[in-house]
């Protein structure tokens, strides 16, 4: 079990790296130019969040974080679906 510490470190490092990528993605979320670009970026950040939570669950040995990740996995696409309605005629089609 000499690898346990290594694997734990790897998980924590990967979580940090995913957060850094999310920071990179923020550029697109702020810059746009369209609302769709922003939603796309936040959607990717949402997927990253799921991964970070799952990786942290393994790294910290706290499996309850998987439950939180599951909530995001189920609800993350809601905003994308919502925006697909709102951009059309300012939500008039809802």
């Amino acid at each position: 079990m000499a690898y346990e510490a290594l694997i734990t470190d790897a998980f924590l490092a990967v979580a940090a790296a995913f957060m850094l990528l999310a920071i990179g993605m923020l550029y697109r979320a702020v810059k746009g130019p369209t609302t769709q670009d922003r939603v796309l970026a936040v959607n990717v950040i949402g997927t990253n969040t799921v991964v970070v939570l799952a990786v942290l669950a393994a790294g910290l040995g706290e499996t309850s974080l998987l439950d939180v990740a599951l909530v995001y996995a189920l609800l993350n696409f809601l905003m994308a679906v919502a925006i697909s309605k709102f951009t059309v005629d300012r939500g008039g089609v809802l």
């Binding site: 690898y3 998980f11 990717v44 799952a54 696409f77 994308a80 951009t87």
Partner: protein, 121 residues
């Protein structure tokens, strides 16, 4: 021995996951318009998440929470392409044209054209 293989597999999965998510991020930052960006956002990212979570699954081994990680995978694979579809569909609905190599307009111009041009999708 088994430990080595497992540790290797986990780390390989994590590295691959990181790599594909990196590709996705680079793509979203680099590509010229919303439609192209949605490609990497939906695909490289889904695969990146898939590999990373596979790593988690391997590390958890056979126990009850593992199945939650597997479910995460399933839901990500179902919802991510739908999200990308919803986003690009909305762009299409707004009349944003897709950029092509022949096009010398930037993504900002394309978005502005969609608003002022008044041509519907």
């Amino acid at each position: 021995m088994m430990g080595t293989i497992r540790a290797g597999a986990i780390i390989a999965c994590l590295v691959l996951g990181l790599l594909f998510t990196l590709v996705s991020t680079v793509g979203v930052l680099r590509l010229p318009d919303i439609y192209s960006r949605a490609h990497t956002a939906s695909q490289a990212d889904t695969l990146g998440a898939g590999f990373a979570i596979t790593g988690v699954v391997l590390s958890l081994g056979v126990q009850a929470p593992t199945i939650k990680a597997v479910l995460l995978l399933v839901f990500i694979f179902v919802t991510n392409p739908t999200a990308a579809h919803a986003i690009t569909r909305s762009a299409d609905e707004e009349g944003i044209e897709a950029w092509t190599v022949d096009d010398d307009r930037s993504d900002v111009d394309l978005a502005a054209d969609a608003e002022t041009g008044g041509e519907n999708a």
